[in-house]
Symmetry: C2
Subunit: 370 residues, 2 copies
């Protein structure tokens, strides 16, 4: 049968593990007690089927459940519901992996531009990209545009809005976007290096639609959206029905559900259309470890039926000093995002930004010559 397979970590005793898995299979599909399922079509074509329950070190169990693909209605919201709707409300259930059939992959489509499209927007093909953020929130459009100009002049490839930059009274979206685009354009005319400024879109579906049109009309070559803030279905619609430029995904509000980061950011964000995915790199101020980051990045770039790869964007408290290490870890197909660290010393922003660009270039050359 055409099915998706979802793996859950169940924190229950061995004696209860199979029954708990059966309960999840019911909860995620028919949501009635087993004895109420009498219709043969429901029994054969709808009900989730427990395929495997295996114990893990530490006492938990991994249960794999196959759901008929038709239960998802091939819809971006209902897919999330079948994967982890009601079961997200159970304390003892964590969603750790998903295997999707071609029917769902071709319905959701994945990135429209993907890693190659983002590289094309930037115009750099042979090394990891460099990225920074204009912030903090509270600066006015002129001050943010100044920052953009300095970063662009230092040679940084992608300059994104902090994801906290909304349509604030003290820094309205349209003024900010125009000022920042103009700033990178001025640098391009002076130096020939045309950095990609990436405005953050946030708000209701109608708001982000308006912001997208404004940004595209003014020449933005990519945009930033936090899928979990706006909702995965709204994100999908933006990527697939509205945007004509690559969309970079930000992880904000992504931790509130009990989903493995490599699944949410590595697999689902890619499936829903993110051309690049920002996530927290280990060793910074967040808590993922090396193995999680490795799996996450692998899932973003690994081959996956006909789905385009997404560019991995490790971030989150990374220092200029560790840029080379990060390149060694992820290799060429990545974009390093260093934010606050570039602004640490008041008069050093330009120098630190150039240092970042140089460190990535050198690390990439070393990688290329190995």
């Amino acid at each position: 049968m055409d099915a998706l397979r979802v793996t859950y970590r169940l924190r229950v005793e061995s004696a209860q593990a199979t029954a708990r898995a059966e309960a999840v299979a019911l909860e995620q599909t028919v949501e009635v007690p087993r004895s109420v399922v009498r219709d043969p079509f429901v029994e054969e074509q709808i009900l989730g089927r427990v395929e495997e329950v295996v114990p893990e070190a530490g006492g938990s169990h991994l249960a794999t459940i196959a759901y008929p693909a038709a239960t998802t209605a091939f819809d971006p919201a209902q897919l999330v519901n079948v994967i982890f709707g009601n079961s997200s409300l159970h304390d003892d259930v964590e969603c750790v992996d998903v295997e999707l059939p071609p029917s769902i992959l071709s319905a959701l489509e994945g990135p429209r531009f993907g890693l190659p499209g983002l590289r094309k927007a930037v115009g750099v093909y042979d090394r990891p990209l460099t990225c920074t953020a204009v912030k903090p929130m509270g600066l006015d459009p002129a001050a943010l545009a100044d920052l953009c100009g300095s970063f662009a002049r230092a040679g940084i490839d992608v300059i994104k809005d902090d994801h906290g930059l909304a349509d604030h009274s003290f820094c309205p979206f349209e003024e900010r976007v125009q000022a920042c685009l103009a700033a990178v354009e001025r640098v391009a005319e002076e130096t020939g290096h045309r950095a990609v400024y990436v405005p953050n879109l946030t708000g209701t579906p109608e708001t982000i639609g308006r912001q997208l049109r404004f940004a595209e009309d003014r020449g933005a070559r990519a945009v930033l959206v936090a899928p979990m803030l706006v909702g995965l279905p709204a994100f999908w619609e933006l990527c697939h029905r509205k945007a004509s430029v690559p969309v970079i995904a930000h992880p904000a509000f992504g931790g509130a559900q009990r989903i493995a980061p490599e699944l949410l950011f590595g697999r689902l964000f890619r499936l829903y259309g993110a051309d690049a995915v920002i996530y927290v790199h280990f060793g910074g101020r967040f808590s993922y470890d090396r193995a999680v980051c490795r799996r996450l990045a692998d899932r973003l770039v690994g081959s996956w039926a006909g789905i385009l790869p997404s560019l991995p964007v490790p971030a989150g408290g990374m220092a200029v000093e560790s840029a080379a290490e990060v390149v060694d870890f992820y290799g060429l197909e990545s974009m390093l995002l260093i934010g606050g660290s570039l602004q640490l010393h008041r008069n050093d922003l330009a120098k630190r930004s150039r240092g970042f660009v140089e460190a990535v270039r050198r690390a990439a050359e070393r990688l290329g010559s190995d």
Copy 2:
């Protein structure tokens, strides 16, 4: 200053608690190291301020942080971001409470119809309402409509779609909605009891907008949406810019761990416009306890500036046999949702449904006469 206050549970040692709270205050606003905040406006008008850090039993700490209201841009997506955007990615941080200033309450508005509007749609003012779900997924429109008719004939007030009913090939949205509306209408003509059938809307923002128009045009008097599946900002826009009937919120994909259920379902769902909120009652197949359910219901109906109350809808594996107890616990201002339990015995559906209606009526009379 006009500020919102957010309380976080920090799972850190006492010696680190204050520093951890300061880090959250930075993370949720400026997202740069403290030393990078040099602009006086940013320092005074943007930065989160730790107001209190108090130890709890068990070794964790409760930190209350005040954020200037202007940081939220008074926008439905950015509000979530300021409350729990990046910090949701930190394993040791849980979001437990929010206190909002009038400026934010009047921007988000809360329910448009609220508890009184839902009562008006149903036409019952003096007792708890009864509610059930048409399911399981997999039945065709005619079979679901049959269920609707049986429930309506038994006197149930509100008959909602299971939240897993999407626009499936085996049961298309439009056919289902028409069949179910017609079924309750036939019963109304026979018996005078006009039950409210509530279609489930799910999909991207454009899809749910189309589904809403279809349902309203055909006479639906309320609709069901899962805010965490479609995204809180899309939910807000549906309630405030699109729907002309009450909207009932379903908790699917609401998670259980890092955002307190009484905050997400009791406070935020109400703020974003839910006229009634389904949540899991203690003692069923989910894991909340009495105290959580009490606080959650209190937050839905308690006075809150000018914000309308939302109707509490306890659900989740409740049995007909415990209906009286549930009424005793929540009192008159509630709607009991019993789903699968009504269908437990194949030929007893009508009898069990009447039993449910009777049990609630009797419990309410007892309550009234106490």
